[in-house]
């Protein structure tokens, strides 16, 4: 019970990139593109039945042929320099109520991922996810970086377009990373591995909707490709960004003008340093979110 490896390649100081779905599927989109661009090979999987309810049954001629579970796969790529290990989970193990994993199952799954990392001699893990931020969807998403040890701070800061928690207004270097993308940082630290979580920003007024946000993924992809020293063609992600932006724009145009005016203010706000002329206030933010919820008749979710 646990991990099933299809092969056991000899890897050179591999770096692991791991992710599970979350807000805007930011991490999964970025990591999956990276995996495909690098033509990484399948390495193995975490046996899913201990963690998930099956999502599909196949019955043919009165015989149960199989059950399909969310996949949790490992991939590898030999690069000639530091090799790369990927882990991509299709779903976070949950109790069916919360979207994000927590508790025993999450801890068990995080440890299985780290088991594989250690087995292949990995010392560094990247995880990725989303950072909900008061930004406008036309703005470039920045990447929040959270390392699991102090000696990684300078490196994390050195990547272009990144911010630390301490760079963010009112956070004072504090925050939470919900679910396995966060938990893996802690488990890696406990087991002696360096890890950095890279989170692409998603606008606060979009994060509650079950839609991908490729703009955040693009920023994550840029940071990961720098960190791994790999050049990644951006055509695919650019096309996704363009499509998503036009879809968001069409919804945005249908918003009541009062709300749109409020949201437009986000174009001129940098939340690290509030700027002129009309920074969005907490009162404004609350009002905007209430109006948006009313418009779409749903509750906001979030990391």
């Amino acid at each position: 019970m646990g991990v099933r490896l299809y092969k056991e390649p000899k890897l050179n100081e591999p770096i692991m990139v791991a992710c599970w779905p979350g807000i805007g599927n930011i991490g999964v989109i970025a990591v999956d593109i990276l995996r495909r661009v690098m033509a990484a090979e399948e390495l193995g999987e975490i046996e899913p039945w201990e963690f998930f309810y099956p999502r599909r049954v196949l019955i043919r001629d009165g015989e149960l042929k199989g059950l399909e579970f969310p996949s949790n796969k490992f991939y590898f790529k030999k690069t000639g320099k530091k090799d790369v290990l990927f882990f991509i989970g299709e779903e976070q193990p949950s109790d069916g109520i919360r979207a994000y994993a927590e508790g025993t199952k999450a801890y068990r799954m995080a440890n299985l991922v780290i088991d594989v990392a250690l087995k292949f001699g990995c010392h560094r893990v990247y995880t990725s996810g989303a950072a909900v931020a008061p930004i406008h969807h036309t703005a470039r998403s920045r990447v929040w970086v959270v390392p699991n040890s102090e000696n990684l701070i300078d490196e994390a800061k050195s990547y272009e377009n990144t911010v630390l928690m301490s760079d963010i207004e009112d956070r004072d270097g504090q925050g939470n990373i919900t679910g396995l993308n966060g938990l893996l940082l802690g488990v890696a630290r406990k087991r002696g591995l360096e890890a950095i979580c890279v989170m692409g920003e998603v606008p606060v007024y979009i994060h509650g909707f079950p839609i991908p946000y490729p703009k955040g993924s693009k920023s994550v992809l840029e940071v990961l490709s720098t960190a791994l020293g790999i050049e990644v063609p951006m055509d695919e992600i650019n096309a996704l960004v363009q499509q998503s932006e036009s879809e968001i724009d069409s919804v945005y145009e249908r918003l009541p003008s009062e709300i749109k005016e409020q949201l437009d203010k986000l174009k001129y706000v940098t939340y690290a340093k509030p700027s002129e002329p009309e920074p969005i206030t907490e009162e404004d933010k609350k009002k905007i979110l209430q109006e948006i919820d009313k418009l779409f008749k749903r509750e906001p979710g979030g990391d």
Binding site: Y53, I59, D61, G62, L64, D95
Partner: protein, 277 residues
């Protein structure tokens, strides 16, 4: 498997080889629990083990159904001199695979279970005067071949549709197959307007299968009386309410009802049968 922590064992059944029949309390028309309840009564089943609810159910209070507080139950029964074991349970909310593994552990260790059946109901738009059908899904070619000796519909093709998920019975059959235990899900059809009340005919159809397969020697005269009595009651409704008679006649002629007609039929039949019992 840790006795005391995850389950309680009250007795050790003396079985050399047995068949396990599994019913989930959350079943369409309560057919599953109805059938195993009937077998339990007829064969004087003895409870011998119970799975503890901790870790499998939320335990954040109790639900109330038909004015009665409910609590999750997962119990095993055995029957001296019969090669039958019954497991009747609520469907767990968490740790599904762990729960199924525990069921299979107990079944293998204490009952030497060689085959597994799950029983349940399947809603049908056919009239109550149409004979019930028994459908099967086997977890192996071997089991499918064995079921071929019985009068079952066993050529079903199915794939889970978006927005749905597999039944817990499918999950159990799959888990059993991993241990080389053969098994089958048996589904009996029942008319949609008898969902809220018992359908003794559906219950008998399943019980008859086990009676033949496991040589249980059950005398069905009591359930036959129930069937006759229920049919009489429905006949009275048809006489009294020509509109409902018309609806049922349509179903007997394979003509579908519209939503309003269906709802009215369900409501009136349910009300009538509840009042006369």
């Amino acid at each position: 498997m840790s006795e005391g922590q995850s389950f309680k064992l009250f007795a050790k059944p003396k079985l050399e080889s047995s068949s396990l029949v599994v019913a989930w309390n959350q079943d369409v028309g309560k057919v599953g629990p109805g059938v195993v309840g009937y077998l339990n009564r007829k064969l004087e089943g003895r409870e011998f083990a119970e799975i503890n609810p901790e870790g499998f159910f939320s335990l954040g209070g109790v639900s109330v159904e038909e004015d009665i507080a409910q609590f999750p139950e997962s119990k095993f029964y055995w029957y001296p001199e019969k090669s039958l074991v019954i497991f009747k349970s609520d469907i767990p909310q968490y740790e599904w695979y762990g729960f199924l593994s525990l069921v299979l552990d107990i079944a293998e260790k204490y009952c030497k279970v060689k085959e597994i059946y799950t029983v349940g109901g399947m809603v049908s738009t056919a009239a109550h005067t149409t004979p019930r059908m028994l459908l099967s899904v086997a977890n192996s070619a071997e089991m499918k071949m064995m079921l071929g000796h019985y009068e079952l519909v066993s050529d079903m093709d199915y794939e889970t549709q978006d927005g749905q998920r597999p039944t817990f019975s499918s999950f159990l059959l799959w888990a059993a197959k991993r241990r080389n235990i053969v098994g089958a899900s048996l589904w009996v059809t029942l008319p949609f307007y008898l969902l809220a009340v018992a359908d003794p005919q559906a219950c008998k159809k399943l019980a008859e299968f086990f009676n033949g397969r496991l040589e249980l020697g059950i005398d069905f005269s009591d359930i036959d009386e129930e069937i006759v009595s229920q049919n009489k009651e429905i006949a009275q409704v048809r006489n009294k309410f020509p509109e409902l008679d018309d609806y049922i006649s349509k179903l007997e002629g394979n003509v579908s009802l519209n939503v309003n007609e269906s709802e009215k039929l369900v409501r009136e039949i349910e009300e009538w049968l509840r009042r006369t019992r």
